[in-house]
């Protein structure tokens, strides 16, 4: 449905987006994820036609739209600030795109009613945007886009200005709607939890470059670069050296197939397991997350670890524990080079020392 080939954009010599290439199939929801200033919104605006790319080709449904102005592209965009027109009623806002297309009045009325119904705002047609809550305003902005039946729906951090509870609700509603209508959606966000929950695939961006494209679980379990690993989920980082297929991890010994040399070893907090031959550490602080506890530990060699631990087997603050990573990734020069495992794993019992 959408294909980008080497799309790039610079602003005054600063590279905002560098040769971005990826495809989106019909009915897919793809999230562009990255920190502020990584180029994700610029990329979205180039797809919308609001920013002209310096290089590359953008195709939508097989048609090259690279040079087409925004008003002639089969896309519609939901803006972060909802961008509703306050001098128009909700109905007039939603019908705008249809009036531009010169559709008959009866068809406009039917389609506007259907779009408002879709977002659960049937009774709000005569209201002004100023009379709506933040969530309702974003629903109207979504209806305004859906009513023109775009080939690709673009969403630029649409929920970021809303409170956490409302954001979670709207995410669920959007996902359900996207599945029901088989919408093709590009969703920009800096919130990795939002991306993990919504996306069929995630495009992780940093400093204008695409770092990795993959399904949420791929990105989480096997991040291809340190940047992706750090951005998606929490990680324990250990700078170490591999020599003869062995490496030290905060005092515990790891075995690996990776070549000798300096390495960065990443492990997820929930992948740490107690083991008699693990890294010795002391529990500094315990944060209660409800179903799990988050433990902040200091290893005997001064390293910092975070351990997500089931409530039933969690040690107290001040306790001594010994941990190994059950799953880990090895990186060199920022790129993933393989994996490793704890030597002589022994995960039978937690060794709580004091």
């Amino acid at each position: 449905m959408l294909r980008l080939t080497d799309v790039g954009k610079s602003f005054g010599g600063a590279q905002a987006v560098a040769a971005a290439s990826f495809s989106v199939v019909e009915g897919e929801l793809v999230c562009l994820l990255g920190p502020s200033g990584c180029g994700k919104s610029t990329l979205l605006r180039m797809i919308a036609g609001l920013t002209e790319p310096d290089t590359g080709v953008i195709e939508i449904a097989g048609q090259d739209v690279t040079t087409l102005p925004a008003n002639r592209r089969p896309t519609a965009m939901v803006f972060q600030s909802h961008a509703l027109w306050n001098h128009m009623t909700v109905e007039r806002n939603v019908s705008f795109g249809l009036r531009v297309r010169g559709l008959p009045r009866t068809e406009i009325a039917d389609r506007v009613a259907a779009a408002l119904d879709l977002v659960g705002l049937s009774r709000f047609g005569s209201r002004r945007p100023a009379e709506l809550s933040g969530g309702q305003a974003q629903r109207v902005a979504l209806a305004r886009c859906l009513v023109v039946q775009p080939k690709v729906l673009l969403m630029d951090e649409p929920f970021s200005a809303l409170d956490a509870h409302l954001r979670a609700n709207l995410r669920e509603e959007l996902k359900a709607l996207q599945r029901r209508l088989t919408l093709t959606v590009i969703f920009v966000t800096h919130d990795q939890e939002e991306a993990m929950e919504l996306a069929d695939r995630i495009v992780v961006m940093d400093s204008g470059r695409i770092e990795q494209i993959g399904r949420p679980n791929e990105l989480y379990l096997e991040p291809q670069s340190l940047t992706v690993a750090r951005f998606i989920g929490q990680t324990n980082i250990c700078e170490t050296t591999i020599a003869g297929g062995r490496a030290d991890w905060f005092g515990a010994r790891l075995l690996t197939q990776c070549a000798d040399g300096p390495a960065t070893i990443l492990s997820r907090p929930e992948d740490l397991v107690p083991a008699s031959n693990g890294a010795p550490a002391r529990v500094d602080r315990v944060t209660d997350l409800g179903p799990m506890l988050r433990l902040h530990l200091t290893t005997d060699d001064g390293g910092q670890l975070v351990w997500l631990c089931p409530r039933s087997s969690a040690p107290q603050t001040g306790s001594r524990v010994s941990l190994v990573p059950g799953r880990l990734q090895v990186y060199r020069n920022g790129e993933r080079i393989g994996t490793a495992e704890a030597a002589r794993p022994s995960t039978a019992h937690a060794r709580t020392l004091a």
Binding site: A48, G49, L50, P69, A70, N71, R72, T75, A76, M77, F79, Q80, S81, A83, L84, W85, N86, H87, M88, F96, G97, V100, R101, A141, R144, C145, V148
Partner: protein, 290 residues
């Protein structure tokens, strides 16, 4: 003890409140007194005086004004050319404001400075500059003759002369007001319209103009009120007859030595200006409430 402390701390604030109120009144007293003494009192006296007939009151002088063909021609001429130049200035300044809202860089800065330039030029300079530029053997005629166009007839003694000068003189205010109004319309509001398929014309008509209603009314009132009572420009430019009301009133008062008739002319002009002034005040009040 803590309660006493709080009471003691808040006491000076409570005691000083009436003095602060008095101080505030004193600060506005001088301008209010000036307005009453120099504007409201003489205006009221003039309005009252214009209805005085012998020992009583009546509308005789007004009836005489409305029955006089020359006076009515002057009034019509004044209102028509004031409206024409106001609408033209607004149209021009809307175009300039649109350009300034969506353009950046050196050229936009130069255009901005040029559009504000007339603000710093007195009306008499503008009038003589136009005479020198548009008048017989002026720069414009010389330029035309350079490219082989002859037979130029200067418009400076026709209504077009003051019309051009009014537009030139009043351009900065609506440019400022409309540019400020346009900055209130967010980029995303315009981009959302573009994104949904709207071209430039529809964006102006359906997105920008409706949101500029208030700035447009304010700009209209400012330009209209500044033009309708003007004296210097219509005194130096335009035909000898009919006359703009400003010139007519001055001539009735000075040359003809008929202050009573001049007062009637002034009250009629004031009435027209008051309508526009009320629209301006109502618009400002509505903006204040919102």
């Amino acid at each position: 003890m803590p309660a006493d402390g709080i009471a003691a701390a808040s006491a000076p604030g409570r005691n000083s409140a009436p003095y602060e109120g008095l101080r505030g009144l004193l600060l506005v007293a001088a301008p209010i007194a000036l307005v009453i003494l120099l504007v409201i009192l003489p205006t009221s006296a003039m309005v009252l005086g214009s209805f005085r007939v012998g020992d009583g009151f009546g509308a005789d002088r007004y009836l005489a004004f409305f029955a006089d063909a020359y006076s009515m021609a002057n009034l019509r001429y004044t209102v028509f050319w004031t409206l024409a130049s106001t609408v033209s200035a607004l149209a021009l300044s809307f175009g300039l404001a649109l350009y300034l809202r969506f353009s950046t860089g050196r050229l936009a800065a130069i255009v901005h400075a040029l559009s504000l330039f007339p603000l710093f030029v007195p009306a008499i300079i503008i009038s003589y500059a136009l005479v020198r530029f548009l008048g017989p053997n002026g720069l414009f005629q010389l330029l035309l003759e350079q490219v082989g166009i002859t037979g130029y007839r200067t418009p400076y003694l026709t209504p077009i002369g003051p019309y051009i000068a009014f537009i030139w003189e009043s351009l900065p205010l609506p440019v400022l007001v409309l540019t400020a109004g346009l900055t209130q319309v967010s980029d995303s509001a315009i981009e959302a319209a573009r994104d949904l398929g709207a071209g430039a014309g529809r964006i102006v008509a359906e997105i920008l103009l409706p949101q500029l209603q208030r700035p447009l009314i304010i700009a209209f009132a400012l330009v209209f009120l500044g033009t309708i009572g003007s004296y210097t420009i219509p005194y130096l430019l335009g035909p000898p007859a009919p006359e703009m009301m400003g010139v007519y009133i001055a001539r009735t008062m000075g040359n003809l030595q008929r202050p009573d008739e001049a007062a009637v002319q002034a009250v009629i002009l004031l009435a027209i200006a008051s309508v526009v002034g009320l629209i301006y005040i109502a618009t400002m009040a509505r903006a204040g409430r919102q």
